[in-house]
């Protein structure tokens, strides 16, 4: 039996959940692109990645998806949801929409989702870890402490992220994510 030809059994619709996750992926994708310009730590994390780095974070079996990659100049860009014609170097698949809902409603942190076998990762593991760290920083920027504390193992202390950096960065990231 050729496993590659085995028909994939698709779950039923769950349209509302898919739309919610698609919107969240769009926001997170745009926020990562903005944070890569605004935040020093995110910038450093991306600079450690290979020049042709491109990650696809998506929900099996048929999406939604988010693609982030570096362009020729090394600038981090949100590249939409369609990977056609793109060379993805890191594929992070959430096994099903229910797992994705847990992650994107912040009931489960990214690390916790890894521990609960929600993800299947193909590609360089260190790259995946860097991307998880970036996601954690983005959550701190985008969300209030009371929600982020549920999703990250340790909310950054004052010494790691002072209020000026946090609130200033939050405003800049929101402006950039929703404007240009």
């Amino acid at each position: 039996m050729n496993v590659n030809k085995f028909p994939e059994i698709k779950p039923k619709g769950k349209l509302i959940k898919k739309i919610y996750v698609a919107v969240m992926l769009w926001i997170v994708g745009r926020a990562i692109q903005a944070a890569a310009k605004v935040d020093r730590e995110v910038k450093e994390e991306f600079s450690a990645l290979r020049d042709d780095f491109m990650v696809k974070l998506w929900v099996a079996p048929g999406g939604p998806a988010m693609i982030i990659g570096k362009d020729k100049k090394g600038v981090v860009k949100y590249l939409g949801w369609n990977d056609k014609g793109k060379k993805v170097t890191l594929d992070m698949k959430i096994k099903n929409i229910e797992g994705a809902i847990l992650v994107f409603t912040f009931q489960e942190g990214t690390c916790e989702a890894f521990c609960n076998d929600r993800f299947i990762v193909s590609g360089d593991l260190p790259d995946a870890l860097i991307f998880v760290r970036v996601l954690n920083i983005i959550e701190v920027y985008l969300l209030p402490k009371i929600i982020t504390s549920l999703a990250v193992k340790r909310y950054p202390k004052w010494s790691q992220m002072n209020p000026l950096r946090k609130f200033g960065g939050r405003v800049l990231i929101y402006i950039r994510a929703f404007t240009f």
Binding site: V3, N4, D91, K93, G99, C111, E112, F114, C115, N116, D117, R118, F119, I120, V121, S122, G123, D124, L125, P126, A128, L129, I130, V132, S149, V152, K153, R154, Y155, K157, Q160
Partner: protein, 421 residues
């Protein structure tokens, strides 16, 4: 008992354990429909004459396809490629890996290449890279530590980049594992001690890290009990086959546990020390285990406390007040390390600065700690550690482990406290 909202547990390795378990080898090959196996081993196994019982059990019934006995101490992508080439040219149809962790992991790497008909191991990193069953693989461990005979992961170094790469996939689980007490009987004390502590670390991290589940918990508990009760006997009486078999079973159980619950910071830091300073994996684990437990104490103290029972026995457990149990567990492990140091004539190390090579040179100079810390940040195991670790946290832990001083619990930057103790 912690029951996760969702978890997966898979272990489909057929285990054959006994004082003469190797005698089942021809039958096992037959059941796997293999007629031309390849043996992969190393010079240490050859020197100790451990390949003889394997050859004897195969007798004339099985035609050997190929034979490779030069696996280095640190599994390496180049070696994997070389062995895969030999496998193909000899037209073998299965692999028998006889050795410690390095040999078993190398054999898993070879199995990826020959099954996928590829020359580039890097194409198969990540948990979803392998999509179909591989060629038959029989694991015959000659140390009681790695647990690789029961795990779905292979750790293979890339010396050109000074990194150890993880290849996790259910398809990497060996088809069969043979635990034969004769295979570990000749393991010298200075190797028995750190390899047993490696298995102990698998069980401890399997029980205390984030991906734990009820099935991994049970196997971890039993593993700790078997290792704790038998390690000193196996060292003081190397010929005690019962103790050797118990250790082999403890190691396999620990492997089964962490293969389904993964490991944490002890392994993340240990992999990096191994990759940069070429220190044996078991040595890193023995030293770092108490530090890993201390660092996570505010989150997993209640779990560490529970492990005092299999580690020290019911008497010690019952007479230790609840609040003191996690500290007692850590102290017990430190004492065990010291005891192992005594019975191995100082060859079992208790801190990083003590580690020396055969010529007496220090293997982990203090100026290497920043490099180790940077590399550790990108080790997959760090995701599963209960508490967050950034560069500064790792440096702090490494400095204490280098000096051999316990962590200052007040200095640990803590996330939300979860431990009930």
């Amino acid at each position: 008992m912690h029951i996760p909202g969702y978890y997966e547990f898979c272990n489909r390795v057929k285990v054959v354990s006994g004082h003469k378990a190797l005698d089942k080898l021809p039958e096992m090959l037959k059941s796997l429909k293999s007629i031309k196996p390849m043996i992969v081993t190393d010079k240490g196994v050859m020197g100790a004459g451990l390949i003889e019982p394997v050859k004897k059990s195969l007798g004339t019934k099985v035609k050997m396809g190929a034979y490779y006995d030069n696996v280095p101490a640190d599994s390496d992508v180049k070696t994997v490629k070389e062995i895969a080439k030999l496998y193909r040219s000899s037209k073998c149809d299965s692999i028998i890996a006889v050795g410690g962790g390095s040999v078993l992991d190398t054999a898993k790497g070879v199995n990826i290449l020959v099954s996928e008909n590829s020359d580039n191991l890097m194409d198969f990193t990540g948990s979803g890279a392998l999509k179909r069953p591989l060629k038959p693989l029989i694991a015959v461990p000659t140390t009681s530590g790695t647990g690789s005979e029961m795990t779905l992961v292979a750790v293979i170094a890339d010396h050109s980049r000074d990194v150890k790469m993880l290849f996790p996939s259910l398809f990497l689980l060996p088809d069969m594992a043979i635990l034969d007490s004769r295979m570990t009987k000749t393991l010298p004390p200075f190797l028995t001690a750190p390899t047993a502590m490696d298995a102990m670390t698998h069980a401890f991290e399997g029980y205390t890290c984030m991906a734990k589940n009820p099935l991994s918990d049970v196997t971890a508990m039993l593993a700790i009990q078997l290792i704790s009760q038998n390690v000193l006997t196996a060292i003081s009486k190397p010929g005690d086959l019962k103790a050797r078999l118990a250790l082999a079973n403890g190691s396999a159980l620990a492997g089964m546990s962490f293969s389904n619950s993964t490991v944490g910071m002890v392994h993340a830091l240990g992999h990096s020390i191994g990759a940069i300073c070429h220190v044996a994996h078991g040595t890193c684990m023995s030293i770092l285990l108490p530090y890993g437990l201390e660092y996570n104490l505010h989150k997993t103290g209640h779990l560490t406390a529970e492990l005092l029972f299999p580690l020290a026995g019911d008497e010690v457990y019952n007479r230790t007040p609840l609040k003191e149990r996690p500290f007692k567990t850590i102290a017990y492990l430190r004492d065990l390390n010291k005891e192992l140091g005594k019975v191995t004539d100082g060859k079992h190390f208790t801190c990083l600065k003590e580690i020396v090579d055969r010529n007496g040179n220090m293997m982990v100079p203090k100026d290497k700690l920043p490099e180790i810390a940077k590399l550790s940040l990108n080790d997959g195991a760090i995701v599963y550690n209960p508490e967050e670790l950034d560069y500064d946290d790792i440096i702090m832990v490494l400095e204490h482990a280098w000096e051999g001083s316990p962590l200052d619990l007040k200095k640990i930057r803590k996330g939300k406290k979860r431990s009930k103790i």
